[in-house]
Symmetry: C2
Subunit: 766 residues, 2 copies
């Protein structure tokens, strides 16, 4: 029997359909207060005063809290996963429009919302800065007076207390001798690409409920992708031990990175501490846009190319617009800096990647963790080189692409990375050798391809337990948060395969840090690989115990005991448990923990021989139609090829990839957080345009390349983000192919296309 | 450093004082319905009809459920820990006054209560039976048409379907040749003793909340002493796997056995299943009296005694008044049958112990599990023999008491049982060699002693995990329910000692069957021994892993790594975790399970060479004053000597014993559930008199004998019930000593004493 590689519905499918699935928004607690956040109306200003008298006097209002109140109960009320720079409520100054300034607590949510409108905050304006390149200038207005990296991070420690800069982190990668690599023959190409700030837009907005249960225990229920981190961070803020803080996470209605690290949890906890009652903080869809976003970027990429199209040297400078608070931005800067030069064999590479503070909504992790922005740059750049040198884009990539076993610019070799196969399958699926219909009338058709590579975040740990009850039923406790990606089902498949139990009979319970071992977080496509290995180890630990019991019960030698089909030595699990415990009783607990060995980068070169336990490879191809009268792009077909290792639940894996494709199409074509004088003009789904069902291309062809990864659980590796990598440049390259218009900034809006068409015809649009 | 044997406040002390302790009564769930139970007004009757129209029409009422409704969703809606005889709501007939007949669900509790009064139930009366001896007669009215033992119990299976009897179980113990042991010299003494039905009266009444979370998951929050059993039983009723049912248990406001096995949980679950919403079922203090009780008993005890006072043969017949449903009564009948002949070396013993159905509130487990009733009989009997033969009561016991190593009538040897030391210390503490003040005026003073023995329930399993977080903090997951006895603190002491961590820094979390391994139940003084061993094993498993890590990190040989004072190889736990995981990350999980080896009794003799993993020994002495004008007994002094193995938290152990003493004084002097025609006339604290602070004796001297038990965790064994064993006969013997009045039935009420005084003077009271 094998459970591996058979497509099956996700375990929670029925509860999602019948409405009984458990979301934190439905949780209540005895004497729970509801909250509404008063948000800054200024992008950068000193707080001059907060007049909350009218709000406090409203019937049903319990209290109004400010940053000063929080500072009374939490000594150093700043949080963040990389830097401790974000106040729970603003202190002294505000750094972006929408920053939480005060919190109204009331018996009902509508009362809190109404009272929040009565809170009068006065400001003394400061000069703001919004652009990432401008903010990096020496004379730019300072968003933060000094840097506050988290004390736990050895590699950031040198930044503590640095003053006078908005650059939170400048990471460098040096491969070969990039300074000397620009002399000699060949052509040099240099381009600058921009990506815009976009929002995650999970359909379930953030919600956190906090209650102090007893004098030394905090319970938080939250829709978070990082229960273990949230526990650690809350414990740090309170000066408590981890075992005093409990974080409970039900299903998530989407995450995409928006719910990583800590968002509302510290605010809810501080309010509960002050109020002495449970507090629920929930935000609206509009408020998501003032919570977290994806980094806008400016990327300058310069390449030296020889006559055969071979890339000889490359220099990349990236500016990441981190907004007002670092969140995980410095890590995006580092990790996506790794791959900013593209998946190519280049002897000399220099990457300079800067995390920059600005007066915008903070930017953090979002599906792809910076990779889509980098791939947009290096793959647009590749096609620009191909066009300039007259080479076929596939052929250019074929000549330069890193093959499995090659040394990547980071100093780590590609292992079990199907780069070449992804490219070739992409070419095949795109029928690249054939000419396509080029359109007629006002419609121009074109196609483009792109390919990207991603390392997984390191070093990280996942741990899990698998337990067996007296009746033989199996429960998996693991910290990967199921937010629709189907992770719980995959963990059931892994445990089920190990124990010979149908996955549908296994309970994979949602995270609760009181019961669920540590996991670094549900992010970066790491879960199937890392948590899968932990669950596998835990299941095998249970199996080992069962087999020892079975040997004892049957009198067989342990070596002769076999386990298959839910039986050990011919006995059911329940029979073994009963025989061993004298009744239907007992629990076996198996435990597994997985931390792949990696090597920290050399501080001088940024290189390491082991930067990632596995590589993700994703390629996309797009066929599009462009209406030259309106500039509107229609994506007719998307091919997405991903290297899956082994897909444990193939249909679900394909759905995840195609979901990533559609999400990335939103960023490619329509989404953009638009600011005027620091005011976000389009928060909420009424103004901010994500793809709807009608915008989904009629043909999305997801192809999984399956070679078992030697270190993956049953050969699997991560795939969650691969759909996002290469979509944007594939469409941009298709646009250039269709119209000759090269657009170097996302989104590829109809306005930009139309403007480009006019410019290419020597006309001006305005 | 040793944490063992140092008295310390219980970990939850502050939360109990400041009011933040978490009880299920304070839990709420989204859309939760409240319930009120409609109860039978008849002791024995057929259900003729239930008219709930008026109740259903009440504003705010959601629905009214009957047994028929329950039977629609639960195929075989009968539950119970030994017999599956109790319907979730009455079906066809009612068997006692107060039996749940219908359930009203409403938005608020007060609405449900008001509507419950509108439900009109009609009955066709049947002949009831109330007395346990009368009910054992062949022609007695039948409470149940046939017996329904639980299918899981091999030793009860032969009873399935047996008809025509109220005797649910008749257990026999035969030691030596009891039939032949009555011939020869010496005197034969025979007496009959009675104990009354009493109530547990935990100050927190029962409450259970049930919610179906998704189509295949049930969550129940309940104040239960048996989370694991409740999960099993709910899974059985639903036809589900154990891993589909979650039982969550916060602190209990007392239990004493009243909250063992299942009480309201199945009712709440059935209602939630029918209503499709969470349902909370909570009962009042008055309703406790219609839920569970302690068995009334009739015990006939006959002994042959030689001239030196040596007990030569003993026959005991016990009738346990189990009320309308068996609950755990058949097990009480068995286990307390083991010790019904007393802690004496008697070559020929016959015990016949019968669990009998009657039309009263069901009886189950209560602190001592039948032992206080048996000790009242055999220790009153002992003093009656001493009085008749002119021997000193201590001397008589000294001559007959089983010594450590002796063979008990059950066939099991006493091991690590300090019987002799308990008796001698009792004599010393009672200053037995000295004469006491005999009173003056209308006051007569006297003293008495008694001693009891108890085996622990077998076979049973406890399992636990101990986990270590990235910051080195320790969390214990174990299923012993803390209901005031201080079990969580004891588990922290055990884990703390094993790991070198102060117990106050360890989190011992309340049971949650999704996270907490199996435990047989918090009962029978088994927890410190069984769960203590499981927690110890789990802590040592963590320690082993830590030491292996430390060896790896430091490069030492594992043999050279030492662990003390919260450091391993000189490193803190956090340093080891960080070094191993590359960050403050990871969780170590240690697992331990403990099932002492026992041997099932021989079906013919009831004997076994291993009936218990440890023996409890408890002796009590009482000095009392009796007002001969009113008959009122005042207990001036109580001495209680218990064999503790090693007391892990001595002050708490003494508090637990003295709490048991006071509780048993209530049964001894004042408590009694009184019936008239099957109607309980004194439910609730207004009518039923438990001891108050003013009734507590001014001098309670609790002495712990401490010899480490070789199999106990750090030498500890159970002590929780020992305070209850011998109090009643000690007082009854003191009464005889003071006044010459021998009362053979509890309580020793002023009325009975006065009547006895008149009879002893040859007068009649009436």
């Amino acid at each position: 029997m094998t459970e591996i590689g058979r497509s099956r519905p996700v375990l929670e499918a029925r509860s999602k359909v019948d409405g009984t699935a458990d979301y934190v928004i439905n949780h209540v607690r005895h004497r729970m207060l509801h909250a509404a956040i008063v948000r800054s109306t200024e992008p950068h200003a000193e707080l001059a005063g907060i007049d909350a008298d009218a709000a406090r006097a409203s019937p049903g209002v319990h209290s109004v809290l400010t940053g000063q109140d929080v500072a009374q109960v939490i000594k150093d009320p700043y949080y963040g996963p990389a830097f401790h720079d974000q106040p729970i409520l603003a202190l002294e100054k505000v750094r972006y429009v929408g920053e939480p300034v005060a919190l109204v607590l009331a018996d009902e949510r509508h009362i809190a919302v109404a009272a929040a409108a009565l809170v009068d905050v006065s400001y003394r304006g400061l000069k703001p800065v919004f652009d990432e390149v401008a903010a990096s200038a020496e004379d730019a207005p300072l968003v933060h007076e000094s840097l506050r990296p988290g004390a736990a991070f050895a590699d950031l420690r040198h930044l503590a207390g640095v003053r006078g800069t908005n650059v939170a982190l400048h990471t460098r990668l040096r491969h070969g001798d990039p300074d000397a690599a620009w002399d000699g023959g060949g052509q040099v190409f240099e381009h600058e690409y921009h990506t815009q700030q976009v929002a995650h837009v999970p359909l379930e907005s953030h919600c956190a409920i906090a209650e102090f249960v007893g004098p030394d225990r905090l319970e938080v229920e939250s829709g978070t992708q990082s229960p273990s981190f949230t526990r650690l961070e809350l414990a740090r803020l309170l000066g408590w031990r981890e075992n005093q803080v409990r974080v409970i996470v039900p299903y998530l209605g989407g995450g995409f990175g928006a719910k990583l690290y800590m968002k509302l949890e510290a605010l809810a906890a501080a309010a509960a501490l002050i109020a002495g009652r449970p507090v629920r903080v929930a935000i609206t869809m509009d408020e998501q846009f003032f919570t977290i976003s994806r980094h806008a970027t400016t990327t300058r990429i310069r390449s030296r190319v020889d006559d055969t199209g071979k890339f000889l040297a490359r220099a990349v400078e990236v500016y990441w617009n981190g907004g007002a608070y670092a969140d995980i931005g410095p890590r995006v800067t580092q990790k996506s800096g790794f791959i900013a030069a593209g998946p190519y064999r280049i002897d000399a590479v220099a990457v300079d990647s800067r995390a920059v503070y600005t007066n915008r909504t903070p930017a953090g992790a979002m599906r792809g963790f910076g990779v889509p922005q980098m791939v947009f740059a290096h793959e647009s750049h590749a096609d620009e080189i191909a066009a300039a040198t007259g080479m076929d884009p596939i052929e250019l990539r074929r000549r330069n692409l890193l093959a499995d076993g090659d040394l990547h610019a980071t100093g780590t070799r590609l292992e079990s990375a199907a780069t070449m196969e992804v490219l070739e399958l992409l070419a095949t699926k795109m029928r690249w050798a054939e000419e396509i219909d080029r359109g007629s009338g006002t419609v121009r058709r074109g196609r483009g391809v792109a390919i990207g590579l991603k390392a997984v975040v390191t070093p990280t740990t996942s741990a899990a337990t698998v337990s067996l009850a007296g009746d033989g039923s199996v429960t998996v406790r693991q910290g990967t948060v199921d937010m629709g990606q189907g992770s719980s089902t995959v963990m059931a498949v892994i445990a089920g395969q190990a124990l010979g139990v149908p996955p549908e009979q296994i309970a994979v319970l949602p995270p609760d840090t009181d019961a669920t071992p540590y996991d670094m977080g549900t992010l970066g496509s790491r879960s199937t690989f890392h948590m899968g290995n932990a669950v596998l180890a835990a299941a095998l630990d249970v199996k080992r115990q069962l087999m020892a019991f079975a040997a004892e019960v049957t009198g067989c030698s342990p070596a002769d005991v076999s386990c298959s089909g839910g039986r050990v030595a011919g006995l059911t699990f329940e029979e073994i448990m009963s025989a061993t415990h004298g009744a239907r009783a007992g629990t076996l607990v198996g435990y597994g923990s997985y931390t792949p060995r990696t090597v920290a980068p050399d501080p001088k070169t940024g290189q390491s021989p082991a930067i990632t336990p596995f590589w993700m490879v994703g390629g996309s191809g797009a066929e599009i139609s462009v209406d030259v009268e309106t500039g509107r792009i229609t994506v007719d077909r998307i091919v997405c090829v991903a290297d899956a290792g082994v897909a444990l639940n193939p249909d679900a894996a394909r759905r995840q990839v195609s979901g990533g494709v559609v999400m990335q199409l939103g960023m490619t074509l329509s989404e953009e957080m638009r600011y005027e004088d620091g005011q976000l003009t389009n928060p909420g789904l009424g103004l901010y345009k994500v793809p709807t069902a009608l915008d989904v291309p009629p043909d999305i062809d997801v192809c999984l390349i399956q070679h078992p990864h030697p270190a993956g659980p049953y050969g699997a590796k991560g795939i969650g983000e691969t759909g996002t990598f290469a979509v944007s440049p594939a469409v941009a390259n298709a646009l250039a192919d269709a119209t000759g218009v090269r657009i170097r900034s996302l989104p590829l809006s109809a306005e930009k296309v139309l403007r480009g068409l006019h410019v290419s015809k020597g006309r001006r649009l305005e």
